[in-house]
Symmetry: C2
Subunit: 326 residues, 2 copies
């Protein structure tokens, strides 16, 4: 019997989860739930029901793990506690500062319902968090660095698109090569926000919009751009569609530390992803396997990637892992 997976929310991330579930031999996509009219939503997999979100509660006995694919700003803070009261759930909640509060709310709901919830899995938080915890546990005397990119920041792209006169925009976060090199050389530099990343924007203007005005508005935007060296390129729609429609991303987590007699050690974890939502969907899917197994063991409550042993993510059993992966 395969693990029965439900998907709640069918944007880029939901579609990425669908692909990953279809690649997993031990899983079956059971249903997709949407806030849209299901009749207007075509999914990639044949013979899988697409249902309105209101029908989800009726599927409690037919779904082993529900993967929540909404956004962190407004969807997940409400959805994850709500659905953890009915299903084993996995989410990719990624507002770092609000994780403790999200954890507490989800943990209470999941415990009361006797369900397992795994929150904040993806690559950051998620795989990058793992890299930070493992490497700082092994090298307690040292410094951690996280660089993102080169890749598309959806939040920054959205912020540029909200500026009057902007028809379309994409923002790339780019690590500063010289800073990355200094970290790799073991120099343990103190890096300001500006020294870690630059921001590069590709903007299509509405007809008649003033490029210098738009550029000023971008570069002076607090939090998003003001603390960075930002480059703005104005391009036409054809070039935008041809060159900037992807969702590539990636990054680096580096721990640079010393053992007692001054020997230096560098631990580096990096990702280079052609599709951020597809890779994030793949991580969610692996953790859905873990959620299923933990639930089978009778465990309940909220977990993060830090609380789950790696073997739970793999379709292979302990004997196979020890023989082939260790």
């Amino acid at each position: 019997m395969k693990i029965q997976i439900g998907i709640l929310g069918y944007g880029n991330l939901g579609r990425g989860v669908e692909m990953a579930v279809n690649q997993a031999e031990d899983m079956k996509l059971a249903a997709v739930f949407t806030r849209r009219n299901p009749k207007n939503l075509a999914i990639a997999t044949a013979d899988v029901p697409v249902l309105n979100i209101a029908e989800a509660p009726a599927w409690q006995n037919k779904i082993d793990v529900l993967i929540l694919c909404g956004g962190s700003a407004t969807d997940l803070p409400k959805q994850t506690p709500e659905y953890a009261g009915m299903f084993n759930v996995v989410d990719s909640f990624d507002t770092h500062a609000k994780i403790p509060a999200h954890y507490a709310a989800v943990d209470e709901a999941a415990r009361q319902a006797g369900k397992i919830a795994i929150i904040s899995v993806g690559w950051d938080p998620g795989l990058f968090s793992l890299a930070r915890v493992y490497s700082s546990a092994v090298l307690p005397t040292g410094k951690d660095y996280t660089f993102w990119g080169k890749g598309v920041s959806q939040g920054h792209s959205d912020a540029v698109r909200r500026i009057p006169g902007v028809k379309n925009a994409k923002q790339y976060t780019v690590p500063v090569e010289e800073s990355l090199a200094a970290v790799r050389r073991g120099e343990n530099p103190e890096l300001s926000t500006r020294q870690k990343h630059t921001r590069e924007c590709f903007v299509v203007l509405e007809e008649g919009a003033d490029p210098s005005q738009v550029e000023r508005e971008i570069k002076s935007m607090p939090n998003y751009f003001a603390d960075y060296d930002t480059t703005v390129h104005f391009i036409d729609e054809a070039e935008f569609n041809e060159k900037h429609s992807g969702l590539a991303h990636g990054g680096f987590v580096i721990r640079s530390g010393n053992t007692a007699e001054g020997h230096h050690h560098l631990v580096e974890f990096s990702l280079k992803l052609d599709s951020n939502p597809e890779f994030t969907g793949s991580v969610l899917t692996a953790y859905a396997r873990a959620a299923y197994r933990l639930a089978e063991e009778g465990k309940k409550g909220c977990r993060t990637a830090l609380d789950i042993a790696p073997a739970y993510l793999s379709p292979q059993n302990g004997d196979e892992l020890r023989a082939h992966f260790l």
Copy 2:
């Protein structure tokens, strides 16, 4: 009360563990056990007893975790099951092909004694195993690559030293840059042994030894050198001591895979270590913390790195980890 650590075996690795334990605020080195005459062994830490290995059993109630620092060839296959019958233990058993048998022997001993044993931790097996399992669980369609080096292989250095006429020798394992680059480009190449690594030897000859004879013997040695492109440099003892006394090592674990629609993803974990035994000792020490906590929970039996959640390795608690590392 700090975690009381014992070290059994005081070579390079035992000394690396000692340094790591002294860096850990929640641990205290309680005793070092040796097969040598303890009177002739000076350790780095003041006021810690150095005792003959025969006295270890009397310390069962004074040591929380005993870290076994012997070799994988003959020491650990015997020692780990034996001491798992008396202590919670951690070892760095690294003969990959024999891990399943070692696991079975240690698991039985630890279960009978009600103790926790964690085997095969270090960086390969250990952190590299984690990278392989996490990345293949997330990207099931893909290929794994492990490259070692540039670094000193103790086994290969020993093999060269056993050749008649060789006074001293050091062997470096070097990844083939072009193969590493092809993997990073996502080409998923099939790589032969020769295409993955080269071997570089620095040899000091005994007086009167024939260099061409020694070079032939090295290059034709089955398993160790015959399948590799090997370079042999003959140097004098002064140069050897000046340039080749270190134990640096490192390597790369790369997973190159695709999500369903052909998007490519690269997951890379790498280490660059000035001292292999000190870093390995640091990993053993982090897993000793995990062993202590698992034992406190009443768990027993054998574990590997794959069976242990990352949070167990960190001195910080769940709230702190969620707030600062996730």
